[in-house]
């Protein structure tokens, strides 16, 4: 109980509250601009949080991402361009609703169900994370090895549409994680005699490059000019929302639950959650024929799903140090920088910090109602800001931010190379999330594999001997085998 009170004390300080409000406004702004994603918002925020104490640093990231995922709905409804990839699943639906003269419903349902879904995700996080941490205290290197493997597997087979390219992305990430001295033998790998490379590729500049610079490069070669769907001032966006909650309670619950679950799976985040929920909503709807014509049901379900995924993604991140999505992959980097190394011990040693994260999460959801309303009010002004003006400023921010992490130009080089690599990966259809996951977890995988091997005296069967490790191992292998089984079933089936 003391820890909870301490946590409230940590959060309800003028400094932290100001950070929360500022990062909320920042998140809303970045999320509302098409081409700037929630992950990019997080990556750009890291250099600033670098100079803050742990609680406000995490608070900034949590608040900014929650707001950005909601704000992505705004240009979806007004420009038919998702502000973040997480809104892409129902962009057409929201835009058509706006074209039918119901912009208030499109924007209002985005806001209200984002908040409700977000609260659901946070509640699950609050209940599940400490309970899982209790179990995780008993985990050995065998369980961690399989957890990492399961994370990789989910990122490839559940989140991606092309497993082969997903595996390539993952391997590239593992290769990046090989660089440096941080390996079981302590030998320099791929350092080419360079002292900076001996320390490994630093994660934050790499992520700033892959998520922000890559996006700037993509913007540079495109030539899209969106058109605003409405010019009239908006009415009350909250009107009719209570009726929607009463009409679609099951959809809300299903979207939130699926979103939290998908979020908690490593490598799959809010965007996948929204796509899956939208599909599910259509499948189980009483009026599936209305989907794709400006029907609010799908927005209710997938709008709740993408925000609930955020809370879900923090469960494996806090308990095991395994990111649930790209955003928590960055957040884990920040946790390490702040000496809040994720893992079950964090719940034992630093419970007040964990509770503070929970409180911030809840606060962010509640704050989303008034600030989101404000964002919708000024949306048309925000959307008039030409992206061509923002992108160079973002680039400068990336350069200075990457430099600031270690006060070294090497960070800027890592950032640039990361940006170019991400640009081409995206272009050639290789997903970026598995690469990031592998960079974050590569060292952990190697470490746990070797300590397990030493414990087992080289006996690979030992990896399956402990009950939880065995279950995780079999599960991982089953998912790997799934595409083969499916193919066999398809060829065996009579045509």
């Amino acid at each position: 109980m003391d820890a909870v009170l301490t946590a409230f004390g940590l959060v309800f300080q003028p400094y932290v509250l100001v950070v929360i409000v500022l990062s909320a406004l920042y998140g809303l702004f970045v999320g509302a601009i098409p081409g700037l994603t929630a992950t990019m918002a997080t990556a750009l925020l890291v250099p600033v949080t670098f100079f803050m104490p742990p609680v406000p640093a995490i608070a900034a990231i949590v608040t900014a991402t929650a707001m950005a995922i909601f704000a992505g709905d705004i240009p979806s409804a007004l420009l038919r361009m998702p502000g973040t990839p997480a809104s892409a699943a129902y962009t057409d639906e929201a835009y058509l609703l706006t074209r039918k003269g119901q912009a208030e419903i499109a924007l209002g349902s985005g806001l209200v169900f984002s908040v409700l879904g977000g609260i659901f995700g946070v509640l699950v996080l609050i209940v599940a994370a400490p309970a899982l941490a209790e179990v995780a205290l008993k985990f050995s290197s065998f369980e961690y090895f399989w957890l990492v493997m399961l994370g990789f597997t989910c990122a490839i087979f559940i989140a991606g549409s092309d497993p082969l390219k997903g595996v390539v992305s993952l391997l590239l990430g593992l290769l990046i994680s090989c660089v440096g001295l941080d390996n079981p033998a302590g030998a320099p790998r791929y350092t080419f005699g360079n002292a900076e490379l001996a320390g490994g590729i630093s994660l934050i500049p790499l992520m700033i490059g892959m998520f922000a610079v890559g996006e700037v490069l993509r913007f540079a070669i495109s030539d899209d000019k969106p058109a605003m769907a409405v010019e009239r001032p908006f009415g009350n966006v909250f009107r009719g929302m209570w009726a929607l909650v009463k009409k679609y309670p099951l959809q809300l619950l299903r979207g939130s639950a699926l979103g939290t679950l998908v979020g908690a799976l490593p490598g799959a985040g809010a965007d996948i959650a929204a796509w899956m929920s939208y599909g599910m909503s259509k499948k189980f709807s009483k009026e599936p024929e209305k989907f794709g014509t400006g029907h609010v049901e799908g927005i209710v379900e997938s709008g709740a799903a993408n925000n609930s995924a955020l809370g879900g993604a923090w469960i494996p991140a806090l308990v095991f140090g395994i990111p649930g999505d790209s955003i928590t992959a960055i957040a884990i980097g920040v946790l390490y920088l702040k000496n809040m190394n994720p893992g079950p011990m964090l719940f034992v040693e630093n419970p007040q910090n964990i509770y503070a994260v929970f409180i911030v999460f809840m606060l962010a959801q509640i704050l989303m109602l008034p600030l989101g309303w404000l964002a919708i009010k000024v949306a048309k002004q925000i959307l008039r800001i030409p992206a061509a003006v923002l992108m160079p400023l973002i680039l400068l921010f990336c350069v200075v931010g990457s430099f600031a992490i270690n006060n070294s130009m090497f960070g800027v080089i890592v950032m640039l190379v990361g940006g170019i690599v991400a640009f081409f990966m995206e272009r050639w259809g290789f997903p970026i999330a598995p690469t990031i996951l592998a960079v974050v977890l590569g060292t952990m995988l190697e470490e746990h594999f070797f300590s397990s091997l030493v414990k087992a005296d080289g006996n690979l069967l030992a990896f399956f001997e402990r009950p939880i490790a065995g279950t995780l191992g079999v599960l991982t292998l089953l998912i790997w085998g799934l595409p083969l089984l499916r193919r066999r079933a398809r060829t065996a089936a009579p045509t």
């Binding site: 670098f50 082969l164 390539v168 590239l172 593992l174 899209d224 350069v399």
Partner: protein
């Protein structure tokens, strides 16, 4: 996607082979049969296998749905992207010697113009942006942005 897959596959196979080859040279953990070379060799082997699968798939027409080829953007500005890359390289090379306050606005103007922002707004945004970033990072966050030529004055 098909054509790019083939070329990317060939490049990846080359990369995988190099990684596999170099992985053999890393030392083992004392008393173990495996060591620092294990993960690189595994990664290299995986890359080679995936690359071969990718090349094989690109040979089969049926592996790609008819609409898999992304619609070409109406007009592409590779020049702009190249300017951006060149600008960052120029920043890395020059910032220490010339100083942030000179290099940053010059880089910004180059990128603004590459993105077809008109000259006057570009100038104003470049100067404003540089000042904001300088104040935020140098003054507030105490990041040692290089002074370069201005060092004698500070």
């Amino acid at each position: 996607m098909r054509r790019s897959d083939r070329w990317v596959g060939i490049a990846l196979a080359g990369l995988g082979a190099v990684v596999l080859w170099t992985g053999r040279g890393f030392p083992n953990v004392p008393g173990q049969r495996l060591g620092a070379g294990f993960l690189p060799m595994l990664t290299g082997a995986g890359l080679v296998l995936c690359a071969l699968a990718l090349i094989a798939r690109s040979q089969r027409a049926g592996a790609y749905p008819a609409d898999a080829e992304p619609a070409a953007p109406r007009r592409e500005h590779y020049g702009s992207a190249l300017v951006i890359v060149a600008t960052v390289i120029a920043y890395v090379l020059l910032a220490d010697r010339v100083g942030f306050l000179f290099v940053a606005p010059a880089c910004l103007i180059a990128v603004f113009l590459a993105l077809r922002v008109r000259l006057v707004p570009a100038l104003l945004w470049a100067i404003g942006g540089t000042i904001v970033v300088h104040v935020a990072f140098y003054k507030l966050l105490r990041v040692p942005l290089p002074w370069g030529l201005l060092r004698p004055f500070y």
